[in-house]
Symmetry: C2
Subunit: 382 residues, 2 copies
């Protein structure tokens, strides 16, 4: 088995993640933060430590970290929350995930918002001049930006775009599902209001734990309700953070795994992790280039990328090609990758592409297996 | 440490849960269900098997199982969904959790629904005659019922209430967070529309995985949106189940733990688990009765209970008493237990109670430690 689906979930995880998660949950897996007893305090301590590590990683020492089960739920809480707070004109990139676009669409249908697309040139450059022109013509109430496209791996210049958006007093939301822990980025405390992270992707943690950081002074209305172990008599959600957005039982099993992975990232360093993934991306691109029948898409010189590569194979649909890879033990993902907008932008809609995504743990064995399969496809095509 | 907070989360879990979860996630923790490759297929198989086990447990072979991260999110999806579908008059029990009441309250404030309380006698009997009278006077569009009160452990006669509600064509929603896997109950396929379960409570699974079963023919509007790895071009949520309600990455680490705990429940049998918890509850009650300064509340002869006991201590507030217990290593939960309505009903609002909750794994050692602490409190009070 060769795993090239790290953009869906990184696999494997650092060994410390499996080990620490199992041990912590076995030894201290009582109810977290909702009791005064020692077990609850231990779990509470782990949660606080994990919040601090997220703040460190994202260079936002005074921001509030909120844990959610998935990045999708985090995005729903933020997007539905700002719409409840009467945001109207929302700009997005052409690379947004369905977690963003489907959520927006539900409210577009009700005519409650208007969605605009940030101008990106055909050569995949975010055109800041034209974006300023767009903002002048329709003032942005909010800008939602995938830091990294899950389809082609393109890194967006989030710092520049948000600096510009802030001149128009827009709320700024960055989806770092494919970048937190991988692309070091200091957006500037004042320039971003919300940053969403996914524990099981570039943070190398387990499934079931994600979240967002937010400026604590923002009054985001709650869209999900429940018990907070706190102010129980109040039938409104409490205004205190993070409780307002952490209703229900927090996933302490997941947080223990995320805590271990954040320690691992700190030890490895984000720079080294990126460099290793970049080296793996180069090796992947070199390998794919050996075969004329493979055409990579969305890969432009001069742009910055993470280890996600989309491609097409001459004469074979992406789905059929995917089947060949998968049957031969090469884990790839084909189709639209929950990002139809991105595929429209790169002209691969609706058939989609074959997506290879590497990670820190992609190995020479993975590449050797991929090479064998490419040779096999090549021989079949002759 | 003596753990009497099983109503918050059961602890410890069966050893097989920790072991299987760690092993499965390490060996097969790729992306589930969203690829054609072997790892995704293995994970997909585990998910299907887990759904089948939930259906078996709840005696609903043809119902749809939907996984959600928490029971709170499941309840939000169902309650907000039926309100979107124009449900107006909603009946609840006096024992509902804030996951239900806070969600309802947000829509009551907007005058979109009216909430009524099912008639329960002072002796904690659900008065079916009066409930029928209530339904005659204001027709129920939906009835939401906690199968088991998380505050006093009372088991509601859900079969009778839902049979009655169905005569009025009401939607019926049972919150089984404190009962699934513990209280065997065959509500009857036709009589319930939604049943919510919490993986980490009476199902003895890990945190981060819960869900609901539903009649597949019900058209429940989506209230959370995101990628489904499926029909990605469609900007509406797909109508197919369970995809419509399982947006985002499913918690395969959590599901593997839940799968192991469901196997464990099947092997132990639900009857034996209930009997063991009931024996532990008896032992707890006998122990508490030895001390005159302790007064159990909400405990009425002739009613059925699970292992949750609320009590008060003469002359000490619940919070102070809780501190004494917790400082001496007895894990209890004090206050309102996210269920202010229940405390109003049993006249312990707003100070709340001290809640002891036992489980299958409550041991003689736990009771011995509790006995020592009760002796200590007793001596301090003299």
């Amino acid at each position: 088995m060769a795993y090239f689906d790290n953009a869906a979930t990184t696999y494997p995880k650092p060994v410390c993640v499996y080990e620490y998660m199992e041990r912590f949950y076995r030894e201290s897996g009582g109810s977290a933060n909702r009791g005064q007893y020692a077990l609850a305090q231990t779990a509470g301590g782990l949660i606080s430590d994990t919040r601090a590590r997220i703040r460190d990683l994202l260079h936002c020492p005074v921001k509030q970290v909120v844990f959610t089960p998935t990045a999708t739920i985090a995005l729903n809480m933020i997007i539905q929350g700002i719409i409840k707070a009467k945001v109207k004109n929302i700009y997005i990139s052409p690379f947004e995930h369905n977690a963003v676009t489907r959520t927006l669409y539900a409210f577009e249908l009700e005519n409650r918002i208007k969605v605009h697309q940030l101008h990106v040139n055909n050569d995949l450059e975010y055109n800041l001049e034209k974006i300023r022109y767009q903002f002048d013509s329709v003032k942005p109430d909010a800008v939602i930006l995938s830091h990294v496209s899950n389809t082609i791996g393109l890194i967006a210049p989030v710092e520049d775009i948000f600096r510009c958006a802030k001149k128009y007093d827009a709320l700024t939301i960055v989806d770092m599902a494919q970048s937190a822990g991988l692309v070091d980025c200091n957006i500037g405390m004042e320039n971003f209001d919300f940053a969403v992270f996914a524990g099981h992707k570039t943070l190398y943690g387990p499934t079931g734990i994600s979240g967002f950081v937010m400026k604590p002074e923002i009054k985001l209305p709650a869209v999900l309700f429940g018990g907070t172990g706190f102010e129980s008599a109040n039938q409104d959600m409490p205004e205190s953070l993070p409780e307002k957005f952490e209703m229900g039982t927090i996933n302490i099993a997941g947080i223990s795994g995320l805590n271990a992975s954040l320690k691992w990232i700190q030890e490895e360093t984000i720079e080294k992790i990126y460099q290793k993934e970049e080296a793996n991306r180069r090796e992947l691109l070199d390998l794919l280039k050996e075969y004329e029948f493979i055409k990579t898409v969305g890969c432009v010189k001069g742009r910055k990328y993470v280890g996600i590569v989309s491609c097409l194979i001459d004469g074979i649909s992406s789905d059929s090609a995917g089947r060949i890879f998968n049957e031969r033990g090469i884990s790839v993902r084909t189709g639209l990758h929950c990002a139809p907008l991105a595929h429209k932008f790169i002209n691969t809609f609706p058939a989609g592409t074959i997506r290879f995504s590497v990670g820190y743990f992609t190995s020479e064995k993975d590449f050797a297996e991929l090479r064998n399969t490419l040779k096999y496809i090549s021989s079949e095509m002759c």
